[in-house]
Symmetry: C2
Subunit: 120 residues, 2 copies
Amino acid sequence: MQSPRRTFPEPPYYAVVFTSRLTDDTYDYGETARRMVELASRQPGFLGVDSVRDGVGITVSYWRDEASIAAWRQDAEHTLARETGRKRWYEEFEVHVAEVKRHYGFRRTSSDEATDEARG
Amino acid sequence: MQSPRRTFPEPPYYAVVFTSRLTDDTYDYGETARRMVELASRQPGFLGVDSVRDGVGITVSYWRDEASIAAWRQDAEHTLARETGRKRWYEEFEVHVAEVKRHYGFRRTSSDEATDEARG
């Protein structure tokens, strides 16, 4: 949903849903979060990410396969960020790793006519 | 992540990730969105929902199985809301339907000690 809009491959691929609430100790959190998106985007198998926070934060990243998720978990800077998150930033988080079965979307056209897009 | 925190069953179960951007025509959108969460929560097979919007909106709902997702899609009020969404509210949306393979979480304890929780 970040522009420009991503093109996803045919399913199956993977989604990692990360839902969190922060503590009051958010020093360096924003900068690190941005850096993690930048680093993740360069990983092999990365397909896209959406992230929104308004109290609760939801970040959904999309990956080609389980191997690319595992490789990203092993990245040294990502590992350090996760450790700092547990020590300081996160009051609570949940992670769901899920295999995408289908994907579809909608985009309003310039004539404001609704159009369906291909369903995966 | 809404409080009180949900208890998820052992995987597999399902996640529906709905990512969207709104048009300027948001009359009745907020009320309808709240109503849909309320209605969905009463459906058989509903496990939980998280929803955040800040420009982009991400709503992730969790379901026991594909049958419960299909039944919710057929709810008359939900169907009408989706139609209005395409006509008026959504500039763009994406839906990913995914099978949750594993789930884990973290919650800071009252002593501020980090603890892992069972991994699904």
